[in-house]
């Protein structure tokens, strides 16, 4: 599904990713953990195509396509979803309008028929219920006045509606209380656990991995993947810390 090979990327003149290689096959949930400043958010932003992040070497192949050659909206249409660490507020635009336009833009790019207003609302209602979110919140402006936890839950409702093949979730667990963490984790499982989908789950903590059991865990440090293992690697990290495990 996703093959990252020897990826180097800079922000401004500062190199952040320094030869990162990682393969995530379909059906896999792959957790990325790493100390602050390791390059986790840079990896997310480079995969999403955010302006200001320059790839200086290496390649990213997504479902057989050169991901880095695509514009951000083309990456979305190709099946990539970015779960933001800090979801953006968009005053004056309702969730319903935003997501319907986004979904239909993706469908159009894939040569599919647009959803009607009624079909879309039914879909939105289903996915909101999955994340235990009140439909009234989806009628409000995108993320405006949402608490940190509500924003993260709204991200997962968006993911449910857009139904991507691959999700990069950047610290989706930050800002969540224990109950919300369970709901969000169950949402990730319901939406993304499938033989033809995959997830890159970027997190600092074991607690989300208790709910969304990863198949693989990798440690990102100094802009590279320094170790990959099974779920036990995350438990070791939680118990011993990065310095001990990476030593």
């Amino acid at each position: 599904m996703l093959i990252i090979d020897n990826l180097h990327a800079s922000v401004g003149d500062k190199p952040i990713l320094k030869g990162l290689s990682l393969t995530v096959p379909a059906g896999e949930v792959h957790a990325i953990m790493g100390p602050n400043g390791a390059g986790k958010s840079t990896l997310t932003n480079v995969l999403g195509g955010k302006p200001g992040y320059e790839v200086t070497a290496g390649s990213v192949t997504f479902r057989g396509q050169d991901l880095l050659a695509l514009e951000p909206h083309e990456r979305a249409a190709a099946g990539l979803f970015l779960g933001f660490q800090y979801p953006v507020e968009i005053p004056g635009v309702s969730n319903v309008q935003f997501l319907r336009e986004a979904l239909n833009a993706q469908r159009k790019a894939r040569g599919e028929e647009p959803l009607s207003g009624g079909e879309f609302l039914k879909l939105a209602k289903d996915k909101a219920a999955l994340l235990k979110m009140d439909m009234e919140m989806l009628k409000r402006q995108v993320n405006v006045g949402f608490s940190g936890g509500e924003k993260k839950r709204a991200e997962m409702v968006q993911m449910g509606i857009l139904d991507p093949a691959f999700a990069v979730l950047d610290e989706t667990d930050s800002g969540l209380d224990i109950d919300a963490l369970r709901i969000v984790g169950a949402g990730i499982n319901a939406i993304m656990r499938s033989p033809d989908k995959a997830v890159l789950l970027i997190t600092h903590y074991q607690r989300l991995l208790d709910v969304v059991a990863p198949d693989k865990v990798s440690i990102l440090a100094g802009g590279r993947i320094v170790e990959t293992g099974g779920p036990e690697l995350a438990l070791r990290l939680e118990a011993e810390g990065y310095d001990a495990v990476m030593a």
């Binding site: 302006p51 909206h73 933001f84 968009i90 986004a102």
Partner: protein, 251 residues
Amino acid sequence: MTTATLPTRRDEAWRYADMDGLARLGVAALDQWKDITLAPGETRRHAMVVGSAAPELHRIRLTIGEGARAELFVTNAGGDYTRVEVEVRLAKGAHFEFGGVTIGGAGVTREFVTQVVHAEPEATSNQTVRAVHWAGATGNFLGEIKVARHAQKTDAAQDFKGLLLEAGASANAVPQLEIFADDVKCAHGATVGALDEAARFYMMARGLDPATAQRLLVQAFIGDAFVALEDEAERETLLDAALAALEGAKL
């Protein structure tokens, strides 16, 4: 009465005007005032789209009777110099609502010039103007508010926001307040900025192409000017005219 000569930029109300455009309009255009009088208690609303390939000057004089309410909403999307002037005189307890959008590129100047006179007590006025420009274009809002000595309990508000889609475009706000009463509320605010890049990237990451993301963000931005317009069909007409002008804008 005929105005003998064209004004100059030294006249405060013509400070940011396109004097060449005005010259092409000619002196005669200055005399064409549209006078509208609202009887006490009357409510009247007018929504209009102005702008063509030629320069345009619209001069409106509103006399609003006691307790009456006048609402004016304008999309100014001219292809040449386009100026809308409104002179308002409010009687006791009257209200004036104004929502205006200037939008466009092509180096053109589009502007609103209002003078609202609170001549008697307890009148209110609310003006909301949004300007969206690119390609060397200019949007102006010159808003003068005059509160007479005995016009106590006046409540007058003015709000301007400019959105510049690229360097070289400009937006000017000139609020002018002349207040002779002491128990009044007069608020004004003006900001000018660029498109929210974080919001644009967020929208693109969800699958919206750059033009659609920009259109949604501009629609949200200018929407403020027309929130007080209750007739949905009229509101859509004004928004659609503004967004149609956005086609071909810098992304």
